[in-house]
């Protein structure tokens, strides 16, 4: 193995990271669908030729993909080994979430990269397509009990053989989506990103030589591992547990436990999810790759400087029992995976907060609240307003939590109210912070939101909600208080009502002039409420972020004696 000097290493680290960044930029610019173009629900990277391990990944893609992509590459490696026909210019495509993680909307393209006739590494591209068939446009089916009700399932197949695109595959894909134009645009964008990656790798290897680049990749992996080990050594040894619950699976009203035991011994960590609920009927299961990737997301939020490199995970073992909702079997539905992985992040944070509270941020609001309001206009045209809604982030040792943030697994922004009102027959009567929703603490959580939406269409509308945290509140850490829970209310002719399953419901009938109200959770608090500076409490009361009664009850009435 070629030895590599530290200067070349640092330069190559940046160069390779940039190849992935450029692939991201290429797809964002070319993609047709706003989920990729605006919300950046996509990712690109370089992966190890034999193990499929992540070598480098772009910085602008969606956080959850950082850990999950290597599973897609591994699936292709297994497929290619079984078929024995891997060739330069091949491109594999698939969306099967049970082997590639996340959900079926994520289309994965994997391309082997050859140098001088020899496999050097893999390049991969993943992007969230707008529609991949199934029962519900956009593929968010809260009543699915099998993947087949969510979307079509494509296992890893060759989209291109030795540089020759197989048009048959494209024809099959385009016949199975409600939005073929969008799908074709996204597919072209992903192919373009892979082409660019190949071109940039060629240039890099021409300049530095394959041996040097390979040595750099090896060294970077070792350094990522060393960095993780050094961080783990900075944490105390011991075992800490935390358990939290999902409200239900959308089918049966039973809470589902997510339990973790975090064990740290010197420079190693075990995340043991034994004791979590078994596989369930509804779409909140996740496949094992998603579970491992989520562990990575949680750890990277705690140590943000860690690189996107598989070396980071080498000192970490993720243990999941069989027949768990965290290691579900085909064809269990996984469309609601976001809720489950948010809860996983919550319990990892809660457990580690017992070991090293100074490093941990209290639980964020913990649900994406996928709310659709849909109907037909008087001229018969259908309309569907679909969006995710925000909530509060947790408090930390450094500061209060952020008000109205996005989910930790995403970086997507919310559409402007005025855009929604201009496209759909609705009016937001309120788009505001939700007072008293934050968990109390020395540093309180951020506030959730209160959205009140009135239907303007004379034909009325139907509402669909897929959310969580309606029965179990986001937790504080280090003695901080819990936040307020998710509350969804809808108008009926006899007054306000709430869904029997708390935050999941389909087909809620609304007449013109009736409204729904979504009140989202805040974030958990950090540290005991008694330690909050009275002037901060007084200021929060003066600003109306907490009510005077809530302040008295939570923080005592000392604040009344200080000027805000």
């Amino acid at each position: 193995m070629t030895q590599i000097d530290p200067i070349t290493l640092a330069v190559l680290a940046g160069r390779m990271e940039q190849i992935a960044d450029e692939m991201d930029a290429t797809l964002f610019r070319a993609a047709f669908n706003p989920i990729i173009a605006e919300a950046h629900d996509a990712s690109h990277g370089l992966y190890h030729a034999i193990s499929g391990d992540t070598l480098v990944q772009g910085k602008s893609g969606l956080p959850i993909f950082v850990g999950v992509m290597s599973f897609a590459v591994q699936a292709v490696i297994e497929k290619a080994a079984a078929d024995g026909d891997l060739a330069d210019g091949d491109i594999y495509i698939f969306n099967d979430a049970h082997i590639g993680g996340t959900h079926l909307s994520d289309m994965r393209l994997v391309r082997p990269y050859f140098r001088d006739g020899k496999l050097f590494c893999y390049l991969a591209s993943v992007g969230h397509w707008h529609d991949v068939g199934g029962n519900v446009p956009g593929n968010y089916n809260p009543a699915a009990t099998e993947v087949f009700q969510e979307a079509f399932v494509l296992p890893p197949v060759k989209l291109a053989r030795a540089g020759e695109i197989n048009q048959d595959i494209i024809d099959i894909l385009l016949r199975n989506t409600r939005l073929p134009q969008s799908a074709m645009g996204d597919l072209n964008g992903q192919l373009g990103a892979l082409d660019l990656g190949v071109k940039r790798m060629d240039e890099l290897l021409d300049e530095y030589g394959a041996d040097t680049v390979e040595a750099a990749l090896e060294a970077l992996s070792h350094r990522a591992e060393a960095l993780m080990r050094a961080e783990l050594q900075g944490l105390p040894d011991g075992r800490w547990e935390a358990t939290d619950y999902l409200d239900n699976d959308g089918i049966t009203d039973e809470p589902l436990a997510i339990k973790v035991a975090v064990e740290i011994a010197d420079d190693r960590m075990l995340l043991d999810f034994t004791g979590s609920a078994p596989q369930c009927a509804g779409p909140v299961n996740i496949a094992l790759p998603t579970t491992v990737a989520t562990a990575y997301v949680a750890i990277k939020h705690i140590f943000p400087a860690l690189p996107a490199n598989a070396g980071v995970m080498r000192p970490i073992e993720v243990r999941v029992p069989e027949n768990s909702m965290l290691s579900c079997e085909f064809p269990a539905p996984t469309g609601g995976y976001t809720e489950t992985i948010l809860r996983m992040i919550d319990v990892i944070f809660s457990a580690l907060a017992k070991a090293a509270p100074e490093r941990i941020v209290a639980n964020a609001y913990g649900t994406i609240n996928a709310l659709s309001i849909a109907g037909k206009r008087s001229d018969g045209r259908p309309w569907v307003m679909f969006s995710f809604y925000g909530g509060g982030h947790g408090g930390s040792m450094a500061c209060d939590g952020l008000n109205h943030g996005n989910a930790p697994i995403s970086t997507a922004t919310i559409p402007p109210m005025e855009i929604l009102e201009s496209v759909y027959p609705v009016m937001f009567k309120q788009w505001a912070l939700r007072p008293d929703s934050a968990g109390s603490g020395k540093h309180r959580g951020g506030l959730g939101a209160r959205y009140e939406i009135e239907v303007l269409e004379e034909n009325g509308a139907e509402a669909f909600l897929f959310g969580e945290r309606g029965r179990f509140a986001p937790k504080g850490v280090a003695g901080g208080g819990d936040a307020a829970m998710n509350v969804f209310s809808y108008a009926t002719d006899t007054g306000w009502a709430q869904p029997p399953l708390a935050s999941k419901m389909r087909g809620i009938k609304l007449r013109q002039g009736q409204s729904v109200i979504l009140e989202t959770p805040g974030g958990g608090g950090y540290g005991p409420a008694a330690e909050r500076a009275p002037k901060d409490v007084a200021r929060d009361v003066a600003r109306g972020l907490i009510t005077a009664q809530h302040a008295d009850k939570t923080y005592g009435n000392v604040w009344r004696e200080v000027a805000p």
């Binding site: 330069v11 160069r15 940039q18 060393a226 400087a305 809604y389 109210m417 005025e418 003066a542 109306g544």
Partner: protein
């Protein structure tokens, strides 16, 4: 004609004598906190009689600094019932992708954000008329509580400004000063957070910026100045000072914009219309792209987390790799540069002002690339090389097992690699191949890294302007007068009311031309350009569609629907390669720009004259690659036109050091620019 750029350390003055086309430059220290002292000092240093000056153009960082340092005014907000928190909720984002810490303080405290009954719907119909008594009560209460500026922010005011106009009229009747901003006046464009944020930031800046500009204008007039006083906007155009006082938010990137305008003019004159500029400051490296002589405009920018300004701005990409960026080795043993920076105070270790961690500048000092006995800028008398060496040893050399000079080379290579990455990315994102471009460094340290950009990005040449340190001040003199307008239309092309569209275009032209008429300056030409933001129904990303519409004698020729469709198809095809079959075309916004082209001066007047001096003034050892080279040092300003200097060489001038690495040649072109390219035979 005088251009003045006030930077963090220096105030630069560029004086152009319009009679003979000659230019002179001056640099004086910036005064703080009131920058007007240094401004007047600099101007009077060059021109003794202010009454001889016809135009003063100012690129200001007063607005930028007030935003970055959060030193704007205490403002109040009056908004639609139910929407008090829009400014605080943003677009549901977070400060950083990784790590969930961080809160956000909006510029308007929740106590001073008041709701009033009123509501306009998206189609412009008024569901609830505005309650003017509630508006007056709120305004009085905000004034009583000490707010000195106020913003009126109503839902869907872009679609129908009636409620907002009534409210703002009522507030202006009773508000104790001029500082009343209203969202439909500042930005009649759909998207409430962006419109509210831009309007609130305008209010936030108004007392500070208009106060500063008033002081300057009063002082200039007191000195006998009777000409036109103008301010550079973030879009690279200039505006009259009274417009700047009403819309200070348009000055958010005034200073850097002027630099890019000058860069565009200098490089186009020199025959390189495709350029990437790189401004290297203490804490950052700012990259901007100019293609075909046109600088890129971005529709909005975030000054800081949650502080969105939506007005057209020269697009500038910033990375944290400036001269003061700190080099450090992480726990995994990898060398990193930044994002932490020593800035210019305490600055690099070699400044001896208290910083002990090595910076990019320290690496340049240790390798002999910067003369320690004659530091540029003139603030310090000499640089402490030994201290810089020690810091590099301790923080980089020892952990990586490198000797001092290899460690310093390592710092530069990693820093150069990051800067090169920024250049590649800005061009890739725009779909350009960076190899087609020239690189133009400006700012104090950029020209030290030009050769590295050639090697790293594969750019063919770098162009170092004759006076890199006063580029922004020169840009002030060159910039055209430009007003941008926006109006949300929100209509399908098939149902477009072309008469309504035309009347918006006409009012933009009328307003823009009136501003040009009122300006006390000459224009070579007046143009009005129109663009529509368009998309197919269902798409959220719009395409900028240029609409070629004739304006004759100030009257806009109405566009037809067919013309709009054809223009969209052409722009869409150019962007995405193909059209969407059976797609329905939609218009979101109208954007108009009215420009008065100001006379340019001949850059050749800045060029050196005569035979000059082509011999080195000294030599000193400079470290390149693995070893020291005896390197010739030239006095750059005495090098004559056509002179060629083969690397390794260093060209020095009072505010800039130009490095020509081995294998490169620097040639002085007819404007006095230094063009650096690979030497013959080595390319």
């Amino acid at each position: 004609m005088v251009g003045v750029d006030v930077g963090g350390t220096f105030t630069d003055v560029f004086v152009l004598n319009e009679a003979d086309g000659k230019a002179e430059v001056a640099k004086v220290p910036t005064t703080r906190p009131d920058q007007s002292g240094g401004f007047l000092d600099g101007v009077s240093k060059q021109v003794s009689d202010l009454s001889q000056i016809s135009v003063v153009v100012h690129g200001t960082t007063a607005g930028t600094n007030a935003l970055l340092e959060r030193k704007g005014a205490k403002i109040g907000v009056i908004t639609t019932q139910g929407l008090r928190d829009v400014l605080e909720m943003r677009r549901r984002d977070r400060p950083r992708t990784w790590g969930l810490r961080g809160d956000f303080e909006p510029i308007a405290d929740r106590r001073y954000r008041m709701e009033v009954p009123e509501r306009t719907l998206a189609d412009g119909s008024i569901r609830t008329p505005v309650d003017l008594n509630a508006v007056r009560t709120a305004a009085n209460s905000l004034a009583d509580q000490g707010c000195v500026a106020i913003a009126i922010l109503f839902a869907n005011a872009y679609a129908n400004p009636q409620n907002e106009a009534l409210a703002v009229g009522a507030v202006r009747d009773i508000w104790p000063n001029e500082h009343v901003s209203c969202s439909s006046e500042i930005l009649p464009e759909i998207r409430e957070f962006e419109r509210f944020s831009t309007t609130a930031l305008n209010a936030y800046l108004q007392p500070e910026v208009s106060g500063y500009l008033d002081r300057l204008e009063t002082a200039l007039k007191g000195g006998g100045f009777g000409g036109e006083f103008m301010i550079v906007q973030s879009n690279g155009g200039v505006m009259a000072v009274d417009t700047a006082c009403k819309t200070p938010v348009r000055t958010a990137l005034s200073g850097p914009a002027a630099g890019v305008i000058a860069a565009s003019y200098i490089t186009s004159s020199a025959g390189f219309p495709d350029v990437v500029t790189g401004d290297m400051g203490g804490t950052s490296f700012d990259v901007s792209l100019i293609a075909g002589g046109q600088s890129m405009l971005s529709p909005q920018t975030s000054i800081d987390f949650g502080m969105v300004v939506r007005t057209p701005m020269i697009e500038i990409t910033t990375i944290g790799a400036g001269g003061g960026s700190i080099a450090w080795v992480d726990k995994g043993g990898l060398l990193n540069i930044g994002p932490e920076s020593a800035g210019s105070d305490p600055g690099p270790v070699a400044y001896g002002l208290g910083n002990t961690r090595p910076t990019v500048t320290d690496a340049n000092v240790v390798l002999g690339r910067i003369d320690p006995d004659n530091p540029i800028g003139g603030k310090l008398t000499r640089l402490d090389v030994a201290a810089a060496e020690m810091a590099i040893d301790m923080h980089v050399g020892h952990p990586l097992n490198l000797d001092t000079h290899h460690a310093a080379e390592a710092i530069l290579r990693v820093a150069n690699s990051r800067m090169a990455g920024a250049i590649r990315l800005v061009s890739i994102e725009r779909g350009f191949d960076p190899k087609r471009f020239a690189f133009m460094p400006f700012g104090g340290g950029g020209a030290l890294h030009a050769g590295a950009m050639l090697a790293e990005v594969g750019i063919a040449r770098a162009i170092v302007p004759r006076y890199p340190g006063v580029t922004s001040a020169m840009g002030c003199v060159i910039a055209d007068m430009r007003q941008d307008f926006v109006q949300t239309i929100n209509s399908l092309v098939d149902t477009l009311d072309t008469q309504a569209l035309t009347s918006f275009m006409q009012s933009h032209v009328d307003d823009g031309m009136a501003v040009l008429d009122a300006a006390n300056t000459v224009f070579e030409a007046r143009t009005a350009r129109f663009e529509l933001d368009m998309a197919y129904i269902g798409q959220t990303h719009t395409v900028a569609v240029p609409l070629a519409v004739e304006v004759s004698a100030g009257t806009v020729t109405p566009p037809t629907k067919a013309q709009v469709k054809a223009a969209f198809d052409a722009a869409y095809t150019a962007t995405f390669g193909r059209l969407l079959k059976n797609g329905t075309r939609r218009i979101l916004n109208l954007r108009s720009a009215v420009t008065g082209t100001r006379p340019k001066f001949d850059l050749e007047t800045l060029a050196p004259t005569g035979a000059g001096v082509t011999t080195p003034k000294a030599t000193r050892p400079v470290h390149f690659g693995d070893t020291w080279h005896d390197t010739a040092i030239y006095d750059r300003l005495t090098l004559p036109v056509g002179c060629e200097i083969t690397g390794p060489a260093i060209l020095e001038q009072p505010d800039t050091t130009v490095l020509i690495e081995p294998g490169l040649t620097g040639r002085v072109d007819r404007f006095g620019n230094t063009i650096i390219a690979p030497s013959e035979g080595t390319a």
